[in-house]
Amino acid sequence: MRDFIDETRAQFTRWMLHLKREPFSLAFNLLNPLILLVFMGSAFQGLARNALGADYRAYLLPGLLALTAFGNSMGGGIPLLFDRENGSLTRLMTAPISRASIIFSRFLAVNVSTMLQCLLILILGVLFGVRIATGVGGIFALLGVGLLLGFGVTAISLMLAFRFENHGDFFAVIGLTSLPLTFLSSAFVPLDNLPGWMRAVALVNPMTYAIDAMRALILTGWNPQGLAFMLAVLVVFDAVMLWLGSRMLGRHLA
């Protein structure tokens, strides 16, 4: 166990150095949420106040947090694919370490980065005038919900890192999933207002449950019963993805 912690710490440190030394890599992920916050938030503010009876930026913020968490998690496997491409993963696999530490350290690093990015989006939202009904405690709860979404998506991404043969495909998948899945959720309009087929997709999209939970925290306040259902769905999603991931990666790294 001591060894596992040492191995994970060394590799986690490496990923944190990447984050520190290449902060602009985050811009790729934060670009869409920022555009939506600034432009869509401003453009629909008046229109939505009448239709939704809510501040549209406050209504939008959960979707942007979910988009941020989803995008960052979905891209989380890319550095492992780079390591596969340039031989350094092979080298790690010949070191006397638990191979689970390779995956676990990356998983931790992705989620730390997700949390920082969500915090940044939250701060920007507050600066744009969004009031969070659950206060400071709510900020922690919002980050927690973002992470619950991130865990399962990170597991998917880590699996993809061992499926794809080149990183171009990987970037394409992120582009084809992040924003479209945000539209196919409750991010921009209430579920009931979506056309039938979009609502069907939104109902099986884990982003919807993260967004609904976060929206309750921002707009309404603490509502344990409502939250419990959303969080339970996310926990089931995480459990399934982590199970699939550990099975598949266990086979790949055996």
């Binding site: 040492d6 590799q11 340039n86 092979t90 696999m93 010949t94 070191a95 370490i97």
Partner: protein
């Protein structure tokens, strides 16, 4: 007798229908450099992968530093450094951060880390550049960093895959000297290479693999001798008109020597195929003196390792060049 740190006996491995290794046996000893040569696709990489616990043998016994690769992979991993042919240095990390990273992964005790890292930096000539990110290091320096990272734990066995691929002459020689230094420390070095000059310069023993089978094995000198292409050229002193007679008497004079296999005339010179033997030159000169043939020049040529390679794996080599296998 020194200990065999790498022992492969009857190793077989197939990938689907393709038989990659068909009964490979070899040994690499402590304090020696073992060169593994072969055309691309012959089975070099598969063998190294099995030694590095990255692939499992189908049949045969494989031990590294005394540990079975199937039964004790963790102990094998702790006993080796595997340096892949690609440069694996992380562009965002400094040289020192790389060494810290590997020191942790190889579980070096905290008290030992700082000293080993300083030693490694000095050994590969990185002192003064330790805080530069790998992105800003030259290709050669990155390669040396890769090597240094694998040696912090002083492994008894080092697996090197094409260590000088793409390096300039200067750095190549640095890397070679560094590898020779490791040999002095008693490490067993298993070196895969496509460069015959590298094998010639470094290896105590080589094996040539072709289509999954070892086709030749021995010390480089021994393999060259086995080709029977050692040649002594003798040029006689005398006018052109006279030379023919002199060559004829020289040919008669040397014919009975045990080291001589056959000879033929080539202009004013006699081309004598000899057994690879140190006495060949002296014997021929002596015979020439006895026969009264004046010698202007005498020359001994030995085939290079590349000729050995082409002799044993030439066909596969040319096929490999056309289909890229």
């Amino acid at each position: 007798m020194s200990a065999s740190l790498v022992r492969i006996d009857g190793l077989k491995k197939s990938y689907g229908e393709i038989l990659a290794l068909d009964g490979v046996s070899l040994e690499a000893e402590a304090g020696k450099i073992f060169g593994f040569l072969g055309p691309n696709g012959a089975g070099k990489t598969t063998t190294v992968k099995i030694l590095a616990t990255l692939a499992r043998p189908d049949a045969g016994a494989v031990t590294v530093a005394g540990y079975d690769v199937l039964k004790d992979p963790a102990k094998v991993r702790a006993s080796i450094a595997y340096i892949p042919q690609e440069v694996t240095a992380d562009p965002y990390l400094t040289a020192r951060e790389h060494l810290n990273f590997y020191a942790a992964l190889y579980h070096l005790p905290a008290g030992l880390r700082a000293r080993r890292i300083e030693e490694a930096l000095a050994l590969v000539g990185l002192a003064g550049q330790e805080d530069r990110r790998a992105r800003r290091l030259s290709g050669g320096t990155k390669k040396k960093l890769d090597l240094a990272c694998g040696l912090l734990h002083r492994p008894p066995v080092i697996l090197l895959d094409e260590p000088s691929l793409g390096l300039d002459v200067q750095v190549r020689h640095d890397v070679w000297n560094y590898i020779l230094g490791l040999k002095q420390q008693g490490t067993a070095i298993f070196l895969c290479t496509n460069y015959m000059d590298e094998a010639e310069r470094l290896c105590d023993e080589v094996a040539i693999i072709d289509q999954g089978k070892i086709v030749a094995r021995g010390a480089p000198e021994e393999l060259k001798g086995r080709l029977n292409r050692d040649v002594v050229w003798v040029e006689v002193a005398g006018t052109n008109h006279h030379a023919g007679d002199l060559l004829a008497s020289l040919e008669r004079a040397i014919a009975a020597l045990p080291v001589v296999r056959q000879s033929s005339r080539d202009g004013a010179r006699l081309k004598i195929y000899v057994e690879g033997h140190e006495a060949a030159l002296a014997n021929i000169l002596e015979a020439a003196a006895t026969a009264g043939v004046p010698v202007r020049s005498i020359n001994y040529t030995r085939p290079g390792l590349d000729e050995v390679f082409l002799h044993y794996a030439g066909r596969a080599f040319s096929e490999g060049a056309t289909n890229g296998a």
